[in-house]
């Protein structure tokens, strides 16, 4: 691949990824099992399950929680390929790299499971090292899957409201919401600027020139965002904003929500008991 294409591919790749996350809102609009749940109870249930995964030292227990996650995704009409590709790449993949050294006896001494030589140096994989790495990887994978499932099945503004329910400071929630809103506006500006640049410079841009253009883009975007923030603040003032934001309530919980939260809490306390009391 030409280096000049690298800049275009990076820009367009980032833009496409962010755009995809907007269209992921379509999943939140479907009439599935998790979409129908009250976001407060759903978030609390996911929180309990993530805690269960973090406290558990038992692979089968983590596997059961992962199975529950996959079943919930299925009942919520989420495309399995889309879900798995979102949850298996990036964070779990990098976690695997981070955890890989710990399987060797150099870092985790213990009972040898397999050994091999690289350049005359003996490397041993230990049972304890492999088990530790597997638990670490499984915890990350299941936690990421649960969080992705929550974000896919909940409209992002509902998630922001849930943050307020859980007493996250208002200014943080408001800023988060506005970041989400304006990131797409700036994506549009980046795309338009890049298209305008291509129409003037042509497709073949030298890597050095390309880097310079990206730097200009960043500088221009910074200026635009700075100008825009004062206008947005004016627009907020104009409609009565005084520093404290008031949001619309409107959550309704049902028996199923309570049942789901209770089930997650039971799993959590069972894991706690299994980890700290059963032996």
């Amino acid at each position: 691949m030409k280096r000049s294409c690298f800049i275009e591919k990076s820009l367009m790749g980032t833009v496409a990824f962010l755009r995809e996350s907007v269209f992921a809102d379509d999943y939140a609009a479907k009439k599935g099992f998790l979409q129908a749940r009250d976001p407060r109870f759903k978030t609390a249930a996911v929180f309990f399950l993530v805690l269960s995964v973090l406290f558990s030292r038992d692979i089968p227990a983590i596997a059961v929680i992962y199975l529950i996650t996959l079943l919930s995704a299925g009942c919520s009409f989420i495309n399995p390929v889309f879900f798995l590709s979102r949850t298996w790449f990036f964070i779990p993949f990098f976690t695997l790299f981070i955890a890989a050294p710990s399987v060797f006896s150099v870092f985790t001494p213990g009972e040898p499971l397999a050994s091999f030589r690289i350049g005359g140096f003996l490397l041993q994989i230990t049972r304890q090292g492999a088990a530790g790495a597997l638990i670490f990887f499984s915890r990350v994978l299941v936690s990421v899957s649960l969080c992705v499932l929550l974000s896919l099945t909940t409209k992002h503004f509902a998630l922001l409201k849930v943050l307020r329910v859980f007493r996250v400071p208002q200014i943080f929630v408001m800023t988060l919401g506005m970041c989400y809103r304006y990131i797409f506006l700036f994506i549009g500006i980046i795309q338009d600027t890049y298209t305008a640049m291509k129409s003037r410079c042509g497709y073949a841009v030298s890597p050095v020139k390309g880097q310079r253009i990206v730097a200009w883009n960043i500088a221009t975007l910074w200026q635009r965002s700075y100008q825009m923030q004062s206008r947005v603040y004016d627009a907020m003032l104009s409609r009565g904003y005084t520093g404290e934001t008031y949001l619309y309530g409107g959550f309704r919980a049902g028996v199923r929500d309570v049942f789901m939260l209770a089930a997650a809490a039971v799993i959590f306390f069972f894991v706690l008991w299994q980890t700290y009391c059963s032996s």
Partner: protein
């Protein structure tokens, strides 16, 4: 006799104290009036609207709204500020500035909720504007997924939900297709018929007769150079051309292409 809502006396404003944006403006806006502000780019129309909405305050002269002065001290009087925000709404030129919430629903409810209305009242107002402006299908969408026309309508809805007595509009029809322009004019005319005072800054001369009883023309000195009924201003082609307010089209007359100033007829023949 109608009440005076806004009264500007020799009002002026400079950005950073150096770049004059509005100079010695005398203006009175009566309750229920339809006022249009026209002028070439950079003549101070948007600055005037920001001043009327108390987002900026004059550094020369004075501005009064509802009999009270609009100045820095206004911010100390939270009761007046809140009452003012309930009575005056501004539709910004760029809807992306106005629509900062995650969804259309949140944006429309933002004003009523910040103005301390109860959830039930805010929901009622949402239903009302959504029905009137036919926005039901957009409610749960993100503003970034809307077309420019839809954004403009939502921006207007977000201000109408406050049910202001005075509606300030900055280029409400700029860059819109004819049908959306028609829809927006209908909304504004209907609001005025129900008692809302309209102040519109625009370049679209063809909408002025419908949305204004009085037109104030801003000149290059960033002051009002003429105030008159729309028919009088629109019929003065020399004046419009001199102040960069009329389109120039190139026509082909018979076989020769000629360029000359041309204004579209505002009266149509059917």
């Amino acid at each position: 006799m109608a009440n005076i809502l806004f009264e500007l006396k020799q009002a002026g404003y400079s950005y950073f104290g150096r770049f004059p944006a509005l100079c010695s403006v005398d203006l009175t806006i009566m309750q229920g009036a339809k006022t249009a502000v026209i002028g070439a780019n950079g003549t101070g129309k948007s600055t005037l609207l920001s001043m009327l909405d108390a987002l900026i305050f004059p550094d020369q002269g004075s501005v009064k709204a509802f009999g009270m002065p609009l100045d820095d001290k206004m911010q100390e009087n939270s009761d007046f500020t809140m009452a003012f925000r309930r009575r005056v709404g501004l539709v910004f030129q760029n809807p992306d500035i106005q629509l900062f919430c995650p969804t259309v629903r949140d944006d429309i409810m933002f004003g009523p909720l910040q103005l301390r209305m109860r959830d039930s009242e805010a929901a009622k107002r949402l239903d009302k504007v959504v029905t009137e402006l036919k926005l039901a299908s957009l409610l749960d969408r993100s503003p970034c997924q809307l077309s420019i026309g839809e954004k403009k309508k939502v921006a207007i809805a977000s201000v109408l939900a406050i049910q202001p007595e005075v509606l300030l509009l900055d280029e409400p029809t700029a860059g819109l297709d004819p049908q959306t322009t028609r829809d927006i004019i209908d909304i504004l005319v209907s609001e005025n018929l129900s008692g809302t005072t309209l102040v519109t800054a625009t370049h679209d001369l063809h909408i002025i007769e419908e949305i204004a009883d009085t037109v104030h023309v801003f000149g290059p000195e960033r002051n009002i150079i003429r105030s008159a009924p729309p028919e009088e201003v629109l019929s003065d082609r020399t004046f419009l051309q001199a102040h960069n307010l009329v389109h120039i089209h190139r026509h082909r007359h018979k076989d020769a292409g000629v360029s000359h100033a041309h204004q579209h007829d505002v009266k149509h023949h059917h």
